[in-house]
Subunit: 152 residues, 2 copies
């Protein structure tokens, strides 16, 4: 499993901690930045990861690459990522919400709050996200198709 990961300054330390635990998570983590905890704007990194993930899916035809975004609460990156029609981002404080987001909404990005969850909790939530399988039920697919259309 391949994962892109990005954060803002508030999420920088948790991003670094998750990068160190990639082997345990059995994933290849590609760090899209930032490279320090100097102040940045969360929409910039959420947009970078969202565009990178959608481009990767489009070029590879693969949907088994996912994303992780981190800011202080997880809220800012989750709003910014969900502005992109090809992204379905779940903000999770618990493994259960991460699992349901992946199963029912086919979430392709997990958002975490560095002020909300410890590193161990973040790993537990990320494992739940990675181990869940998108439910192919027709009702889920119909609703997900609606999420890909321009709202109006």
């Amino acid at each position: 499993m391949k994962l892109f990961i990005a954060s803002d300054h508030a999420g920088f330390d948790l991003k670094a901690a998750l990068l160190k635990r990639a082997a345990e998570l059995k994933v290849t983590l590609t760090d899209l930045g930032p490279t320090s905890d100097a102040s940045v704007d969360y929409p910039d990194y959420a947009d970078l990861l969202s565009k990178t993930l959608v481009d990767h899916e489009s070029k590879s035809g693969s949907t088994d690459t996912l994303g992780v975004l981190i800011c202080g609460s997880g809220v800012g990156v989750s709003i910014a990522a969900n502005r992109h029609p090809g992204i379905r981002a779940v903000l999770a404080e618990s493994p259960e919400v991460a699992r349901l987001g992946r199963e029912h909404n086919h979430a392709n990005v997990l958002c975490l709050g560095s002020r909300i969850v410890s590193t161990d909790k973040a790993v537990e939530i990320l494992k739940s996200f990675l181990q869940a399988n998108p439910d192919p039920g027709e009702r889920h697919l119909r609703r997900i198709e609606k999420l890909g259309k321009k709202p109006g």
Copy 2:
């Protein structure tokens, strides 16, 4: 304070429970549906509430009207609502995330998961959301302005 509220079928019972507690919450709740727990698609009700809230803000010039959206996990409605450039939706499992979403991201919609939180917990989270004040700090405003632009 005025609140619009909507759900899908899975969130119908929690919506009904919150409507009964409007007096305790000291809010006027306007129910946008559905009117039964028959199966519906969460993007339809998230779109309805999002459009209604943005129209209301545009016509009244007021930003003190907020929204509440409920589905089973809260994930589906949070993705759908955040597709709308004028909506900043926070999915919260805790009062802290609701508060931070309101303070730092000026969230105007709170998303709740009926399978995740009890009615009492939902009330606690909603109170935290309503009592928080948007932080007018320049860095927050700069980031929120970026959320209002077309992602590209």
